[in-house]
Symmetry: C2
Subunit: 244 residues, 2 copies
Amino acid sequence: MTGTLTIAGIGPGDEAMVTPEVSAALAAATDILGYAPYVERVRPRTGAALHPSDNRMELQRAGEALRLASEGHHVVVVSSGDPGVFAMASAVFEALEDSPEWQALPIRVLPGVTAMLAAAARVGAPLGHDFCAINLSDNLKPWPTIEKRLRLAVEADFAIAMYNPRSASRPEGFARALKVLSEAGCDERIVIFARALTTPEEKIETVMLREARPEMADMRTLVIVGNSATRRVGDWVYAPRHVR
Amino acid sequence: MTGTLTIAGIGPGDEAMVTPEVSAALAAATDILGYAPYVERVRPRTGAALHPSDNRMELQRAGEALRLASEGHHVVVVSSGDPGVFAMASAVFEALEDSPEWQALPIRVLPGVTAMLAAAARVGAPLGHDFCAINLSDNLKPWPTIEKRLRLAVEADFAIAMYNPRSASRPEGFARALKVLSEAGCDERIVIFARALTTPEEKIETVMLREARPEMADMRTLVIVGNSATRRVGDWVYAPRHVR
């Protein structure tokens, strides 16, 4: 086995946020796999064979990547943002668990700038104090688990980064999440909607939770709910470092 | 006012993880401020005047950076990892709140690869499911708040990234954190100690929580506690995407 598998984070969108080690991996790849829009993003960086696939195909894609690497290819699986945050790395290790014959393959995970860090940077520092990250998709976990985690996150007074808040196939969940947060006493918290971050279509809105509407989010939006101390200074939003 | 202030994340240590936009900002700076070891790291990248300072000097450093920018300098404040995660961005906005005369200054925050993402990538994908990040330093918040957040994080079944677990001036806190987690039923959880990530001194240990000792962490260590489903596959550790 002389192939390799690299799981690489290509950041939120702006090429200036792709790390040099990820750029080097893309340039050296023989095969690149990933959700089609992410594969399209890296096309100019590589002469590799491109294997785009649909979303929700994560496990099949991971298995295909392992198979190609086992046949001697130098495979890169691309994820938007960071591959370890609600992205392809877990899917690859899940596939590896099902296929012990591939566990000796040389695998590397290359981190990237995940969406919540890029969103936070655009508005100030809303993740400057303790925070959590919750995937709102209920494809892979029951909705009551999501609600419970939101309530506990409020009780802990974490800022809350919400990934995958809303999609065409799951239009209802985000409205329920906003309701849970409102019932937990968050109406006066600052909420940031960051869509298509660092791309030409970027749109960022900052509102109070009581003003937030489900339609403000779609599948390209990252939502951050501030903690109880998160405040504005000028055009910026930040979480104070102190708890008094 | 023609000066600028950029708050830049220089990643965990490896130069191959510094984003191109941060490299460009460092190359264009007239003045670079930061904790001395981080300023030393960027010395080869810049001809700027270097202003190293001690840790715990964050607010003074932020004020100095704003003052230099207000006088026309192109100032970069460097943080290890990401500047928005327990780092300089919040301190700058705190200083800005105290000095409204500087609120019109052009400020940019440039994200970076924060330590928990680099640590996760080294061992697999322990942050592949919902997680939280807690700063264990009690310089800026009371210890009971930290304990409460740890307990709620366990109840939510988040993986837990712990920043600044232990320092010479705070040798006791991390032992207390491990005790809280043990009492909360986490003895059989996987814990990752990632020290001096991506540097030549990197050392990574993965143990069960019941085997974890306070001395395994110091001020250069990032600790990740897995969630209840986090598992090993071969040499890797990952959080399954599903909750069943």
